[in-house]
């Protein structure tokens, strides 16, 4: 929570917002909700009306917003706000940059990527972007570089969507945007690698972040898709590949014959991933030793 002076300043802002919201809701209710005559065959007197409870809520919100405003102004919130507006301080930008570095990936993931990109790929992208940005942030200057790289990529992504490019590209080849996203991910990871490759400790951290992101993605998405039978929000290239295997006639027959077969297949899949990860770690350790 913020300290008291800042808190009261923001209380003035939020109080005004809540008063405004309460007034808007009240007007909306009084003008659009049935308060008399009939609706749906039911007599809409005031005490039966669907407007009753919302009206009480919006009225209370105006009242409490007003009380909050009075208290905030009394404790110097308005003065602080005016002072802040007069001399807008730029010193807060470091904190704001860090905040944006967390929230922009979340918003891009939910609003831009998930509706258009294969769930496996966009989840991997989300995890890897955040992990590399924050897990390796002790490396001098890396955080700002990665965040800037990501912001530029997201801005380009947004502009492409605004101009309808993904739909046009996907009309040519259905999984074009999946490939574009993969390319961006490789570029991002490659850019990070170029910065930290001279430091053994950070190379190890980089490797660990990649492993956790890939393994996490390969555990979560298949469990929901194939064990819990939840269709993924967008099923693209990678899901197509998994479906080729899972719905292959031999695998389907195996699952039909053995009720617990799907768990055995999943277990086998995770054993393969674990073995691959183990071999990669061993090879990396051997390389470290030879250096």
């Amino acid at each position: 929570m913020l300290e008291n002076k800042s808190l009261r300043m923001w209380d003035v802002v939020t109080a005004v917002l809540f008063i405004g919201f309460g007034l808007w809701a009240t007007i909306n209710i009084l003008t659009t909700f049935p308060l008399k005559d009939k609706y749906g065959g039911v007599e809409a007197t005031w005490y039966v009306s669907p407007a009753l409870t919302p009206l009480v809520i919006s009225a209370l919100m105006v009242v409490l917003g007003g009380v909050l405003l009075v208290i905030a102004v009394k404790e110097g919130g308005a003065r602080t706000l005016l002072a802040q507006l007069k001399t807008f301080e730029v010193s807060q930008t470091a904190g704001m940059f860090r905040f944006l570095a967390v929230t922009v990936p979340i918003l891009v993931y939910i609003f831009l990527d998930i509706p258009r990109i294969d769930f496996f790929i966009c989840s991997l992208s989300f995890m890897l972007v955040l992990m590399l940005m924050f897990y390796l942030e002790d490396f001098p200057g890396l955080f700002n570089k990665l965040a800037t790289f990501y912001f530029i990529g997201s801005a380009v992504n947004f502009l492409l969507i605004v101009f309808g490019v993904p739909a046009a590209l996907n009309a040519v080849f259905p999984y074009t945007m999946d490939l574009v996203m993969l390319a961006f991910l490789l570029a991002y990871a490659g850019y990070c690698w170029m910065q930290i490759r001279g430091d053994a400790a950070y190379r190890e951290k980089f490797g660990l972040a990649i492993k956790v992101a890939v393994v996490g993605d390969l555990i979560i998405a298949p469990i929901f898709k194939y064990i819990l039978i939840v269709p993924l929000p967008t099923e693209g290239m990678v899901t197509w590949g998994f479906d080729r295997f899972w719905y292959h006639h031999a695998v389907r027959a195996f699952r039909k014959q053995y009720p617990l077969g799907k768990y055995a297949i999943m277990l086998g899949f995770y054993l393969i991933i674990a073995t691959v990860m183990f071999l990669i770690s061993k090879r990396a350790a051997a390389r470290r030793d030879t250096r």
Binding site: M1, Y39, G40, A44, I57, M61, F111, A209, V230
Partner: protein, 549 residues
């Protein structure tokens, strides 16, 4: 305890007593059953209880899920940034395809495990894994510094087990009484009870000003109004979006409110747990029965505090733990030892936060009003599994209360065994940096929101709610009233309008029905005592009274 808490508990006792006496008198007037009256009935209930334990345990799926969910719960609790509420919310979508009993075992396992698991990081790295374990850190971590980490964890494990069992006993004893009472409630009582629940959550959880907590409750109530109203199907605040007409799902809102802000805060300002590894090693976790037996009065007192606070809507395990810790310190013969590694401090907080689970289930199962944020999530999960918590629960699902008691007991036992055997392995997870697991949690939140209804709209909702609640949290608006308001909003709306329909727009029945009147008075008193002029007025009246005396 705060005065408003005492008032509420006193009111509940009066209501319970006022309602229970005629009910008990009726029971006395009934002819004794052929199986031996009250004693026979109690024996029968015990028999049924053990039967349910047996019936649940012979299903291998139940046994596996019990162990897995309890361990996952302990892990969730141990990792700072993850809460019991988030764990239950994430698991809800995973349990969708399971039958009722198995789903309840999984959800209760994660609930009990998570509340206990917070003590791991509290003791070992002085960072509470969950808010419920914050008080444990005060004496648990100094014990670890003295080289008694294993002993401290043994104390927390045993105290948590005792607290959970105590809460379970109170839950099964008190709930039938409350159900009998609640069956006599009309719409007026339910409306006032639900409104009181939102109000008291806002009053007791005040990080800053109480008006902000009340506004948070109003926000939750408003969100609950969105969609077609239950009585006339009029679309309220839908603005042409068909996705909003079916009302807003609880799970995406809870995942957004509890998951996204944690991810933002955990990445933006990560803790330095990786640098606090010196106390991760300990010999073994010891069951400290002899120490526990020495502090039986503290255990009983803390358990009662935990159950009482758990029964208050929306107020959670953290308040119970702090209150019990404070009371234990005040009543201790050696209060100066608190904060330096006092066993009593650890026992008090851990017993209370776990007995709070049973307390939170009392209003949840009997009235449909969640007693804590994790219980609120449990309510959402129960509704998804076609269970309607409230006075009719025992009629629609006979034996459910006793079954939940059995499940709670099994979860407590599994928690104790897991704590004793697996502490060292779970503790290794504390070394995992938040920057690596929080993004994974983000993906889980997302797919969990989507899985419920296969709607992308729920994802957008989760994202928006998450960002807004992060800002609200930073500005001193607590989330618990929002959640309770969302869950109780429909109860408030339906019952108010139904009550008005029956009384033709008159509020007179509030003053004619004793229970409704008590709730009404409680609401007035609660609001009045929070107004700014109350304290000066009280001081002036007290001074005047003292003068005349």
């Amino acid at each position: 305890m705060k005065k408003s808490q005492i008032l509420f508990v006193a009111a509940l006792l009066c209501v319970a007593l006022g309602g229970a006496l005629p009910v008990l008198a009726q029971a006395d007037a009934a002819p004794a059953s052929s199986s031996g009256g009250v004693f026979g009935m109690v024996l029968g209930r015990f028999g049924q209880f053990f039967y349910y334990i047996y019936a649940l345990m012979i299903v291998p799926q139940n046994l596996i899920l019990l162990v897995v969910s309890t361990v996952v719960g302990i892990t969730f609790g141990a990792l700072p940034g993850l809460t019991a509420t988030l764990g239950i919310a994430l698991l809800t979508s995973l349990t969708y395809g399971l039958n009722q009993d198995t789903a309840m075992i999984a959800l209760m396992g994660i609930y009990v495990g998570a509340v206990y698991g917070g003590s791991y990081s509290s003791v070992l790295i002085n960072i509470p894994g969950t808010p419920a374990a914050a008080a444990t850190a005060l004496d648990g971590h100094p014990l670890a510094r003295k080289g008694e980490a294993g002993r401290a964890l043994g104390l927390t494990t045993t105290a948590s087990f005792i607290g959970t069992v105590f809460g379970m006993v109170v839950m099964v004893s008190v709930s039938p009484l409350i159900i009998k009472l609640a069956l006599q409630f009309t719409s007026f009582e339910f409306f006032l009870l639900a409104f009181f629940g939102v109000l008291i959550t806002g009053t007791l959880l005040v990080p800053d000003l109480v008006y902000k907590s009340w506004i948070a409750g109003l926000i939750g109530l408003f969100i609950a109004m969105i969609g077609r109203d239950p009585l006339q199907a009029f679309p309220r605040f839908c603005f042409g979006f068909s996705e909003l007409e079916g009302r807003i799902d609880i799970v995406p809102v809870l995942l957004g409110a509890f998951g996204i802000p944690q991810i933002i805060a955990g990445l933006k300002d990560p803790d330095d747990r990786a640098k606090r590894g010196e106390f991760f090693t300990f010999q073994r976790v010891l069951p400290e029965w002899n120490v526990v037996l020495k502090y039986i009065p503290t255990i009983l007192r803390s358990s009662l505090i935990g159950v009482g606070i758990g029964a208050i809507p929306g107020v959670g395990e953290d308040v119970a733990a702090w209150t019990a810790y404070g009371v234990a310190k005040k009543s201790s013969k050696h209060p100066e030892e608190f904060g330096k590694g006092a066993y009593e401090g650890v026992i008090a907080s851990e017993t209370a936060n776990n007995s709070c689970i049973g307390g939170a289930l009392i209003p949840l199962l009997t009235l449909g009003i969640p007693g804590s944020p994790p219980a609120a999530m449990l309510l959402g999960a129960m509704m998804i599994h076609n269970l309607k918590p409230g006075p009719m629960l025992e009629f629609e699902s006979p034996g459910f209360l006793l079954k939940m008691t059995a499940i709670l007991f099994l979860c407590a036992l599994t928690m104790w065994i897991s704590g004793m055997l697996l502490a060292k392995q779970v503790v290794k997870l504390l070394k995992v940096p938040p920057q690596l697991f929080l993004p994974v949690v983000g993906v889980l939140c997302l797919i969990g929101s989507y899985a419920l209804a296969n709607q992308r709209f729920n994802l957008y909702l989760m994202g928006i709610i998450g960002i807004i609640t992060y800002f609200l949290g930073e500005l001193g608006y607590p989330m618990a009233p929002v959640v309770i308001g969302l869950i109780l909003g429909l109860m408030v709306d339906e019952n108010l309008r139904r009550a008005m329909m029956v009384s033709n727009g008159s509020f007179l029945p509030i003053f004619q029905r004793p229970v409704a009147f008590i709730f009404f008075v409680m609401i007035i008193v609660l609001v009045f005592t929070q107004l700014p002029f109350y304290q000066p007025l009280k001081a002036a009246l007290t001074a005047k009274f003292k003068k005349t005396a």
